[in-house]
Each structure stands twice: as structure tokens, then as C-alpha cells.
Symmetry: C2
Subunit: 296 residues, 2 copies
């Protein structure tokens, strides 16, 4: 089965590399700098201290996904609508589309654009782009995917490529849990340009995070979502296990890029307004991140 | 009557200069750089386009206030307790002490330290230090002072020196109104390092300011304080009339100084906690300002 990966960021490149390494026919769609490097040398995957060049097709033109049986949609939340419109003409009615993105509404938004079902997928992996066509794996790699008629087939395709997959009745709740974690850390790390360990030593920062999380959980409840696990416990743990980590939002702002904050704290603010739930902490975090985003 | 000014910042230098210019015997207590300049050349006052050197006594030793009949206490809120302890040994039982400071609890804190009544004073002036012993007047200059047995005498001393003075039954409310304005602007301008005009164009910033102000007004009510005037109207106006202004907190952080934020948004957070009133917006603004203060 031909597999296409839309979006050549750290997530798309990693899963594309894992699938190509397992023998799949993979096509990566991304920006010219990455595409050129991959077409010239293959995709460079760093994994567990080893480096490996992996051959795959790459193109900066969305038409290259034509004929794909499975599409891994890996663009930023800010690009979902545009990228969805780009791939739409090249999808077949039975193409399986998965959204491997942050935020909780990408699968729904993408589905509305392409007119096909989209499997919401929660990604638990730490990877980074080290240069054009060069992705580095730092840890984990498992996916939690929503239930659908194709989910079992997807799991059977991905698992042999060393991609652990869990099919969950509550993938939406898992997406929310991940987003809430991002709502706690991303804006604060971005506004202060501090890593998590130093951040949480700031006076009152745990209280701000707790308020942000409580607002998120209230909004989730208002949306009818059951958030699984001990979200607050997981959040407290991250500062200990990843003290040197800067949030993706902090990294985006430092590089002058548009962040995903509109789909993290900004999403909570919008949903809260719809539901009549006050979200003052998420509002303040979102507004200050946007100020900084505009300034950079 | 000998008048002493404790604190040679822009407020203390301005009022000290106005009083010395009117013929009063003024002694300024401040840091050596300012004191040396004043003792060498006099205090340089820029006012309405004109420059004038004004002779006065200056010392970096608090003992120089001995014999003063009136003390203008003009240090930052962070220094109230220390500076109060410094001047205490040199105050007479009938020395009139005025607190010309931001924040709402300085008069009370100072009074507790020196064991004398302190007249709370709301300062409406725009001034800046342009260099050692060099103060520039940008606008206004009036004082609102609390009622006390000495208030009429104080007003009669200051008014002939072109210092408009109003004696108010609700000076505390006026101090709160000024502090609430600072709670709306100071942290946001500091965190973003933006002037007011650009700041309020940020997405959601008016909503954040509105939330901060509503929390402050609720805490004021819980403290039994009636805040006079249309605080929100005044806040909206400032962005139009002072678009290029950076908050004092923004200036303090840019210069690596400790800000007064603990006595602005931080005060609201503490009082809110005492009274059981939620203050999530002030908490977030305070915490993020403290992060930046620590980093600078």
C-alpha cells in the first residue's frame, strides 16, 4: 500500500521513515528544502545513537499523494485547512486519512475540508528536525488512534514497522489530555522563553498552571469529553523529567514562526466563550503569547 | 519649616525641587550618584521647556532629615519598610509624614514602622529622571491627600509652591483607582516590553485588562473601599493619550531593577486570597512579571 505523509516536520518525517524502513512505499510532501534533501540523499533518521539514510519519494506538490491508500496528515494546526484543500483533489473515496496533530479539533476540521472520515490520532513521540531531511528521535513513538472501520487495518499496517498502536474508544479524551498539558506549559515557556524546570520555580507559576488546567477540565466537561488519567499528576511530572525542554510554542516564537497557540489556550478560550465558561487564565496566556508572536 | 524628601526618584526630586524653588529649606535623601550631583550643581529641573538648577541640601544618610517638620516619603513600595526604619530615629513626635507612593498600603506599612501617623497621598504627575540630579516634568503635578489634623497645614504649605492639593475623604479610594490602572497596564507592558498604544492592539488584550480590573474592583469592595470615578473609562483613555508610554514596571525590568509588581497585581492576589476572592488574571500577570524580573 502506498503511504503518503503530508507535512515534513519532525512527526511526519519520523513516522514516514519508520514506515519506509519497514519496506512501505512512502511519499513525503513537504517544503522544498526538505524535499530536495530527501530526494538527493534519502531521509536521515537518527535513532538510538545510530544514523540511517532511508530512501523514499518526496515532493513539494500535493499531487504526489495520488494513489495513496493511507495518508498521515502531519501539518501544524494552523495549516490544517489549507493543506487539506491541497490534498483533497488527490484522495480516493477509500483513502484512509489519519490526523497526527496537536489540538483536539484537527480531525474534525480536516474531515470537513476533504469530505472523508479522518481518524484522530494522539502522538506520543519526542523528535526534532536537525536540518533539511534530517530527523532525530529522542524518545517514545506510540500512537493512540480512534475507533473506525479502518482502525484495525491501520494498526496492522503500522505495528510491524515498530510503531506501537493502541485503538481507543476515547482517543478524543487522550487528545484533550495532551492539549491540556500543552495549555499548562506552552504559553508560559513561550512568554518567558524558559525551559520547564526553571519555569516552574517562578513565584506563583504552579498556581497559574493549576488555574489553566482547571479551566481546561471544566471546558472539556462542557464539551462532553472525559479526560482520561491524572492530568495534573502528569503535568507535575514533566517539569522533573524534562527540565531542559522548551515548549514547541517557545521554539516557534524564538524562530519567528507562527505558533499553534490558537489551537491550545486559544481553543479553550473560544470553546469557553461558546459554553459560557470563564477562562481568564487561558485568555491571559493566549493574549500574551500572541503579543510576543506579533513582536518576533 | 524644614522639609525632607526621602527618596531621590522622579517624584521625590520633582516635589523637592518645586518646594525649594518656592523658598523652602529642602533636604533630599537619596543614592550617592544623585546626592553628589545635587550638592555640586543643585538639582536640575526641566519644566515647560525651561531648565533651572535649584539649590537644596542632599545627603545619602537618613540622619539628614533630623529637624524636618514635614517628610515627603517617596521611595519605591519595595523599600518602604527599610527606608522607614532608616528615618525612624530622626523623626520628632510632631513631624508630619506623607507617603507619595504607588500601591495602597504604603501609608499603613510606613506608619507601623515609624510609629507615627502617615498621610496617604495620591500623586498625579508625569516626571522622569534624565540623569543624576536631573528631573524632567512631563505633565500634571497635583496631589490628593487624606484627611488628618495636619492635612490643611500641609495643603497651605504646598499650594504656594505651585503644587495643587486636594484634601479628600476618600484618598484611599483614589489610591486604589490609581493602583487598578497600574494593575491593568504595568504587567502587560512589562512582559511584552511594549508601549500602551501597541499593547492594546494585541488580540484579547482588552479582555485581559477588563478581567484584571474586575478582579481588582471585587477585591476593593471586599476591603470596604469605594473606588471613585470611571476606572475603566480612564484605562481606555490612557492608551489613546499615552500610546508611546512604557509602564514603570516595563522600565524597571528593562533596567534590571526590582519592580513594584508585588504591590500592584501581587497585592490584589494576596488580598484576594485573604478574602477568598479568585484573582486568576492578576495571578497570571504577577507570576509572568516575576519570571521576567528574575530572568533580567
Amino acid at each position: 500500500m502506498k503511504i503518503a505523509v503530508m507535512g515534513a516536520g519532525a512527526v511526519g518525517c519520523y513516522y514516514g521513515a519508520m514506515l519506509a524502513r519497514a519496506g512501505h512505499d512512502v511519499t513525503l510532501i513537504g517544503r522544498p528544502a526538505h524535499v530536495d534533501a530527501v530526494n538527493r540523499d534519502g531521509l536521515l533518521l537518527e535513532f538510538g545513537g545510530a544514523q540511517q539514510y532511508i530512501e523514499m519519494n518526496a515532493s513539494s506538490d500535493a499531487s504526489a499523494i495520488a494513489g495513496a491508500g493511507l495518508v498521515l496528515f502531519c501539518v501544524k494546526s494552523t495549516d490544517t485547512n489549507d493543506a487539506g484543500a491541497q490534498i483533497k483533489p488527490f484522495l480516493a473515496p477509500d483513502t484512509i486519512v489519519m490526523s497526527l496533530q496537536n489540538g483536539v479539533d484537527n480531525a474534525e476540521r480536516l474531515s470537513a475540508v476533504i469530505g472523508l472520515p479522518v481518524i484522530p490520532t494522539v502522538v506520543y513521540v519526542a523528535t526534532s528536525m536537525e536540518g533539511p531531511g534530517h530527523v532525530k528521535h529522542h524518545g517514545r513513538g506510540e500512537l493512540v488512534i480512534g475507533t473506525s472501520p479502518q482502525s484495525e487495518k491501520v494498526a496492522q499496517t503500522l505495528r510491524p514497522a515498530h510503531i506501537p498502536v493502541e485503538i481507543s474508544e476515547n482517543a478524543e479524551g487522550a487528545l484533550w489530555a495532551k492539549m491540556i498539558l500543552n495549555c499548562a506549559y506552552n504559553a508560559l515557556s513561550a512568554i518567558s522563553q524558559m525551559p520547564y524546570g526553571a519555569l516552574v520555580q517562578g513565584e506563583g507559576i504552579w498556581d497559574v498552571m493549576r488555574n489553566a488546567v482547571d479551566e481546561c477540565l471544566t471546558v472539556a466537561k462542557g464539551c462532553g469529553v472525559t479526560v482520561p488519567g491524572d492530568v495534573w499528576g502528569a503535568i507535575k511530572k514533566i517539569a522533573e523529567t524534562m527540565p531542559g525542554q522548551y515548549s514547541s510554542t517557545a521554539q516557534d516564537l524564538a524562530r519567528g514562526k507562527t505558533s499553534e497557540i490558537d489551537f491550545l489556550n486559544g481553543y479553550i478560550v473560544r470553546k469557553g466563550a461558546e459554553l459560557g465558561i470563564p477562562t481568564p487564565t487561558n485568555l491571559a496566556l493566549h493574549a500574551m503569547t500572541k503579543l510576543r508572536e506579533r513582536r518576533e
